[in-house]
Amino acid sequence: MDYVAHDASAFAPPAEVDEMELYHPKTFVGKYIWSQDAKVIAIQYAITAIGIGLVALVLSWFMRLQLGFPNSFQFINPSNYLQFVTQHGMIMVIYLLTALFLGGFGNYLIPLMVGARDMVFPYVNMVSYWVYLSAVLLLIASFFVAGGPTGAGWTLYPPQAILQGTPGATWGIILMLVSLALFIIGFTMGGLNYVVTVLQARTRGMTMMRLPLTVWGIFTATILALLAFPALFVSAIMMLLDLTLGTSFFMPALVSMGQQSEHTGGNPLLFQHLFWFFGHPEVYIVALPAFGIVSDLLSVHARKNIFGYRMMVWAIVAIGGLSFLVWAHHMYVSGMNPYFGFFFATTTLIIAIPTALKVYNWVLTLWHGNIRLTVPMLFAIGFIFAFIHGGLTGLFLGNVTVSVPLSDTMFVVAHFHMVMAVAPIMVVFGAIYHWYPKITGRMLNDTLGKFHFWVTFLGTYAVYLPMHYLGFLGVPRRYYAVGGTDFIPASAQSLNAGITIAALIAGAVQAVFLYNLVWSYFKGKPAGGNPWNATTLEWQTPDTPPKHGNFGPTLPSVYRWAYDYSVPGAEQDFIPQNVPAREVARSGTKT
């Protein structure tokens, strides 16, 4: 019996449909600045996102310095501590992770992986990046206006977000809200591109169920983002109006700093509902691309087809759908009907089913695989650890009775950093080590990469594992200092100091990564077209890095799914998606 994919009759001729018209720039500015090439736009997105992410990393250091060594640093005071907390959270979640996964990886990988020349609307794609950059610049500007950036917490809850007394309550919050609105407008332009490109521009033979899981993850996350961001958009506009025109969407009648405010009749809970209707899907907007990418990394570097491909696709779609039904689990202590709490706890726990299914499938993909402990694989395995850890603590926090006492403690901080910071960033690093050879034509240095992995992985664990215990003790989050609190033992301070040292080390080692990116660009080992022997289309381009238009004169035709690794009977341990059955080299023995 011949197990080598499909039989020889299943040959599809090259696509006969019209090619898309590409804009061919002739100047440097046209090629690299006002570029309409999705690959260049992807790199622009990535550099901007990583750049602003580094700012957020430094802000987290400042926070940790205060928590680990209270009152030792003159430049940290209660007011700017809150600004550090707020800006760190907002930048990491939205301006780094969302932008990098969708704008960065989405732009680079979608056209290449589906076999398209570019996104379907390249001009809109270009505008999307420049609007995103404007949003980032506005955010940066907020650091330099009177009062500094907002310190309202990344959730920006009213009424305190816009009341005098909160840091940045005049200009900082205005710039934050306008920046968010711009980000959403820019994202919508990009998001339309990603969705339509996946649905309309797949090459011949690339059916939806032959798409690599990376594309499924980014595609589903984009749909989530398109449907969830409007909630943040309207809440940003409404808060802006409350602040500037004196409307009362969210602002109730209250006495602030001894004075009766002019607001009457606003409902702060309305903001929380709108914010979390966006905020929870946002978790999956970051997680789903990570799920997709890590599936591909595991499969390529374990030389094995992904276990349960269909289940993986269904799980991505199911998680996406369910993520819109769980938002109020962020509001258990905000005051709600107990039946609502019961409903949202139930939906939250139901999400654990498709999520756990994915984790089992990743582990089963590794099972009996021909595992190569490359740097991308190390990061992928690191992701599984961090994600299981963060996912399990999510089960605690999803239950109302357990969540209420743990609310606003360091346990919550440890949970969401494990699941939403360490886990996705492991995938970001894994993905960069994996696709850097395609983007630049050179390999990243392996030794530096492994050093980077181990220090990052162990360092982040040293930060967040002990933090759970601080949470159990009742150490609150977002506090500049806890003062003389009886229920917190003195040893908690020693733990905090240790966490800070680990955070400083885990952050500093990122310099090695940045050095590796630059050094390898010039001196790295030439990668060739397909250094990992992967099957997906981005590795089958005639040029590395791929040129404008991606695939040379003819678009590839696809004959198989993305996971034909170690196929019995085939001579090589991978069969690229664009190789028809009749061209597969067979080994002498057939089973």
Binding site: A12, M206, N305
Partner: protein
């Protein structure tokens, strides 16, 4: 192939591979534009659904004070219906090759839209001069926010409409223009539908019971 069928295929199986190989692939710009508009309309639908939900949620509180009625909105609604009808006429005409009629329909559609927007502006002014006007009243603030966002979407539509109108003089590609007219028509019909829902539910008196039933609260 239906979505459920597509999601249940087994891409690794030999037999399935033969079916999958038949996917024609390739980019078709008209289909892409049409799909992009549909996706965008879904985003806009979510935006306004959230606003309606927020409005009704706030309405359920005891201290709710309805906004004063602005009768001009009825006339504005009629004008917006006329703009949609005019664009429908333009679409009907271009499909039958009647280019002059298409131009008339297009221009009338745009003109009615501008009149509608001006009418909305007048409605804003009217409300602002009423005795009960108070910006801290959520009902009034919601009125300005929702009509403003709806108007902003129409203004965006007018940009696309303007680009289409600029193309329909002299020699032009009828097939391309036909699609632009069709897309404009779909967008206008959609925004008319949104307006009818907003106007009917929020701005024609106290429809709290209907809204709460729709939201499943009562």
């Amino acid at each position: 192939m239906g979505i459920f069928h597509e999601l249940t295929v087994k891409p690794w199986a030999t037999d399935q591979g033969k079916v999958d190989d038949l996917h024609a692939g390739g980019t078709s710009p008209p289909a892409a534009r049409k799909l992009a508009l549909r996706v965008f309309l879904a985003v806009v639908a979510v935006l306004f659904t959230l606003l309606v939900t927020a409005y009704s949620g706030r309405m359920a509180y005891e201290d709710w004070r309805p906004a004063p009625q602005v009768s001009l909105l009825w006339a504005n609604t009629l004008v917006l219906i006329l703009s949609s009808v005019a664009l429908q006429w333009a679409q009907y005409s271009v499909r039958r090759g009647r280019i002059d009629a298409m131009r008339v329909g297009l221009l009338a559609g745009g003109t009615f839209t501008v009149v509608f927007l001006f009418g909305q502006f007048l409605a804003w002014r009217q409300l602002a001069t009423m005795v009960y006007f108070e910006l801290t009243n959520p009902a009034i603030a919601f009125f300005y926010l929702i009509t403003g966002l709806h108007g902003a979407h129409l203004l965006g539509g007018l940009v696309a409409w303007g680009r289409t109108v600029a193309r329909v003089w002299g020699d032009f590609d009828v097939a391309k223009t036909r699609q632009s007219v069709e897309l404009c028509t779909v967008y206008w019909h959609f925004l008319l539908l949104v307006w009818l829902v907003l106007f009917g539910l929020l701005f024609t008196g106290n429809n709290l019971d209907v809204l709460l039933k729709l939201c499943g609260i009562r």
